[in-house]
């Protein structure tokens, strides 16, 4: 068999079942739960995400904290996901679900743009998201704010894990949304300019980050205008800064740790091979 033939044989082997979910462990896991074992804690974005439209464009933003229970699992987690050049999605809920759903959306939308030769619309992104989420009846814990500018103008949609979607002028989601939405409700005005909208989103995020345990660390903003998109972040607000370090550094002298056994693994040097 030649090299290409064997490579094609490898290609034909099933790596995964076309990306579908495997339910192999469900029966075992349910049995383990009945025996009294608690299921593991999943990373949740436990988030504050905010979006507001202004005259001609859209500002979206998110904090950057991911939590697992009360542990901060990730301090600089990216919750503003790019779907296309001018469509973005902010996510709240189960972190793994959000990563995978937005990854799926962005590749589907890109394929669609290439096939049609036109820019994808926000409503397409929203519909793809809601149909996927509705299929899974809310078990995929992704709560999204999908927004962007397309040839029909700026749009913002809220999409819940059940597949409910709403068109909105401004929106907040996640555990910090109660604090954020009150700021938005008070200060949002129709026909704001970009600077006003950006300041409003930032203020709403600050409210969420100080009022909610599961939100904080830093914030990311994306400003979507008809002609271009600007990403800003991570911005660390003053109240999220770690106090200035005192003149003290925990530095260990080499050799402070007692080593019982030592082994060195050398790399094999492969010569003249067509790697990379």
């Amino acid at each position: 068999m030649t090299a290409t033939e064997s490579q094609q044989g490898v290609l034909k082997m099933e790596l995964d079942k076309g990306g579908a979910f495997s339910f192999d462990n469900c029966f075992r896991n349910m049995a383990m739960c009945r025996m009294g074992a608690a299921p593991p804690r999943l990373t949740s974005t436990g988030t504050t995400i905010v979006a507001a439209s202004y005259n001609g464009g859209l500002v979206m933003g998110a904090d950057s904290r991911a939590t697992a229970g009360n542990i901060i699992a990730d301090k600089h987690c990216e919750k503003v996901h790019k779907l296309t050049e001018s469509i973005y999605a902010c996510g709240a809920g189960t972190a793994a679900d959000l990563d995978q759903v937005t990854k799926m959306l962005s590749s589907n939308l890109r394929l669609m743009e290439l096939n049609t030769g036109k820019k994808a619309r926000v409503i397409t992104a929203m519909r793809q998201a809601k149909q996927h989420l509705f299929d899974y009846q809310g078990y995929i814990g992704a709560y999204l704010l999908i927004g962007g500018v397309d040839p029909t103008g700026p749009h913002l949609y809220e999409c819940t894990a059940n597949g409910t979607t709403m068109h909105k002028e401004f929106a907040a989601q996640g555990s910090g949304s109660y604090a954020a939405i009150s700021v938005l409700e008070r200060d949002f005005k129709v026909g704001m300019d970009e600077a006003q909208a950006k300041a409003l989103v930032q203020r709403a995020l600050h409210a969420g980050m100080s009022g909610d345990n599961a939100s904080g660390n830093s914030l990311n903003l994306v400003i979507i205008r008809p002609e271009k998109t600007i990403f800003e972040g991570p911005i660390v607000p003053d109240f999220c800064k770690k106090p200035e370090p005192i003149d003290l550094e925990y530095k260990f002298k080499p050799g402070s740790t007692a080593v019982l056994k030592r082994k060195e693994i050398k790399y094999e040097i492969v010569e003249s091979m067509d790697i990379h």
């Binding site: 490579q7 490898v10 290609l11 082997m13 790596l15 995964d16 079942k17 579908a20 495997s22 339910f23 462990n25 469900c26 075992r28 896991n29 383990m32 074992a37 608690a38 299921p39 593991p40 804690r41 999943l42 990373t43 991911a66 697992a68 542990i71 901060i72 699992a73 990730d74 600089h76 987690c77 189960t94 972190a95 793994a96 679900d97 990563d99 995978q100 078990y139 995929i140 550094e249 925990y250 530095k251 260990f252 002298k253 080499p254 402070s256 740790t257 007692a258 080593v259 019982l260 056994k261 030592r262 082994k263 060195e264 693994i265 050398k266 790399y267 094999e268 067509d274 790697i275 990379h276």
Partner: protein, 205 residues
């Protein structure tokens, strides 16, 4: 009691300047009983890429087999060396495929880029949500203790020796307070020239 602490065990990875450290404890238990004292939770995937698997030991073993299978296929059909980022995405997709019936193991990837020697570390939850900070990651029963102590011990741009000391001291501190981990620790220091495997002296209870 959570399945995640049934067998116990902790893995920690720290990144430095063109080097990474990955450390594991050696205890394998069944709830409060220690069954084995030589169970490494860190596995070599390729020369400069290592993976740590904490949590339920039988799932960790299954996942490791699946990782090695996929890594083998990748190298055969792409005909190039595996980057740590690629491995992490691969493991993440593998875990997410089992979203609704997950493996009870938290994977951790540490390694250097085979060409540029850029350090990469990341941790995942049981369904493959990647957290890839630039400083340190920890998984397992000692995670909470480790994250706190690493926050003070980690410094910017450490060299391989400093990084080893910081990693070793961090895991030793965690072992002081985590009953489900212990019985010694092994620290792997991955640099662009070699990998140093050091078994460090720890309390044996």
């Amino acid at each position: 009691m959570s399945i995640m602490s049934y067998n116990g065990g902790t893995v920690l990875a720290m990144a430095g300047n063109e080097c990474v450290c990955i450390a594991t404890d050696l205890r394998f238990g069944e709830q409060m009983t220690t069954v084995a004292v030589d169970q490494k939770k860190v596995h070599k995937i390729s020369d400069k890429v290592y993976v740590g698997l904490a949590g339920f030991a039988s799932d960790a073993k299954t996942v490791l087999e699946k990782i090695n299978f996929r890594k083998g296929l990748y190298e055969l059909r792409e005909n190039r060396k595996l980057k740590p980022e690629v491995l992490a995405t691969m493991i993440s997709n593998l875990c997410y495929q089992h979203r609704f019936g997950s493996f009870f193991t938290e994977p951790l990837v540490a390694g250097l880029d085979p060409i540029t020697s850029k350090p990469y570390i990341c941790a995942m939850d049981t369904i493959g949500c990647i957290a890839a900070p630039r400083d340190f990651v920890a998984v397992g029963t000692g995670q909470e203790y480790l994250l706190g102590v690493c926050e003070t011990f980690w410094r910017e741009n450490m060299n391989a020796d400093d990084l080893f000391e910081a990693t070793a001291q961090s895991i030793l501190s965690a072992l002081e307070r985590d009953a489900a981990s212990g019985w010694g620790a092994v620290v792997y220091t991955i640099t662009k020239d070699n990998v140093n495997v050091r078994t460090i002296k720890a309390r044996m209870d």
